[in-house]
Symmetry: C2
Subunit: 314 residues, 2 copies
Amino acid sequence: MEDLAQEILQGKARAIARAISLAENDSQSAQEIIKKIFPYSGQSTVIGITGAPGSGKSTLVDGLIPLLRKKDNKVGVVAVDPSSPFSGGAILGDRIRMMRHSTDPQVFIRSMATRGQLGGLAKATGDAITILEAGGKDSILIETVGVGQDEVEIVKLADIIVVVLFPGTGDDIQIFKAGIMEIADVFVINKADSPDVDRIERQLKAVLELGYKEQKATPVVKTVATEDIGLEQLMSGINNVISAQKPGQRQARRKKLISSMLRDILTERIYSLIAHDVDQSLWEEWVEKVYKRQIDPYSVAEMILSRIKREPGQ
Amino acid sequence: MEDLAQEILQGKARAIARAISLAENDSQSAQEIIKKIFPYSGQSTVIGITGAPGSGKSTLVDGLIPLLRKKDNKVGVVAVDPSSPFSGGAILGDRIRMMRHSTDPQVFIRSMATRGQLGGLAKATGDAITILEAGGKDSILIETVGVGQDEVEIVKLADIIVVVLFPGTGDDIQIFKAGIMEIADVFVINKADSPDVDRIERQLKAVLELGYKEQKATPVVKTVATEDIGLEQLMSGINNVISAQKPGQRQARRKKLISSMLRDILTERIYSLIAHDVDQSLWEEWVEKVYKRQIDPYSVAEMILSRIKREPGQ
């Protein structure tokens, strides 16, 4: 583990990949590594990119990589898909497209899919960020595959959040539902060569006007990611927002993140203590008994808690 | 406590009020009471009413009470406001209006405001429902004062959920944001004497068509609660939905609720164990240290957890 931590700090891709896998599996050794490399983390710029499926986020990320590399930034990419147990199908296709960067040792690309429950993926993504930061990446792109509460938790790990919309679907309402509008630092309207682009721009402005007034000044960038159109503008949009951020602002954001990360770790640990003793069928049995009023929920909770308070293994 | 439990089962208002206060303060004795009365709970119909501030929910609730009383239903009302530490101001005004029912011993009305954190209020509301059920109320109305994630958790405690919209504000987007659309069993457009009523009805239908297709068949009732207009229709709308619910549906809903109630109790217990040892300023100190990379979050979590595992008082 000492060796692995050293290799991460040297920026070795295989060490970074292995550590992220360990974090994904929530292994004890992942925590040992994080503890060792943690002092060297916290210096990167983390860019979160979210939007409904089909918005072209992966193509955008793919197009931003060369722009970051041009400025000699080392780049880490983590694509997170909480909704599917495997990063297969269409998503795999996207990842394959990105493989054109795979010969560049300064670009690290990684998919992460669902794992466990209860904020586990957000925690694993947070660990991946720590690992990439310690591994010397200057810019870290976090891409979420879908739009939902889990994705919001994940994209909130970023210093700056890019929300991608696109014309021609009714699914943008998903974005309102998930509470994504209010966390956007930059809006992108991708697929802006569609004839429907004006309509969605009007809709976006109407929605901002109506319900998200504090977001009215948020920059809106139009792109056609597949044609490399608008990506430079998006990059400067992102950079402008970053340089406009007050130092205290970013600090407050990161501290809030640490606070929720601590809570996530605690919650996950405690639930894994519960899960250790309580399997799903036993849980359902208890629910059934409570439903039938054969036992009350407080007595069930006390039974479970009394187990937790024993040290594991005793 | 034995006496108090007995008096609740006899439906005595003062005993019910006292038990709810104990639950609100999360006292140990509240749990003892719940344990005793729990076998006698679970038989009422719980109606949840939510909507943006100003939608007239309280007036609606106030108007539904006599309709329920006409059918000789015993009625409990709990108005929950997670956003304010006190149920003061406008809300107090609403409560005072409801006091016209205060001479009826079969109507019990109670406000609950924010308390603690982390689902504490949802848990306390769940306890209040148990107490009112054991106290023999046939119908329990749960009214949330605002619209947000906490309110959604609370209104989900109900067997049937009524979502109140009203014309003339842009704030309805709050309802989409909070994930309330998808849990509605009945929509009410209150203040339907406003000239704007057709617009909001069109908007609601457009939104259902666009993003919530599975909600398309949800009944929409127009009311003017202040004039007692449409309340009978609302009552039959509610009753129709209830009688259309398959037995398994309601059972599944209640079991899901029990499961999440168990989780809430566990989470709250565990967090109170944490809070017992960790005060806010100590927490912030840790966040600061993690931010400065003086310690890593896993080590902090381990410190906190090692404290939990000691039995309290040892």
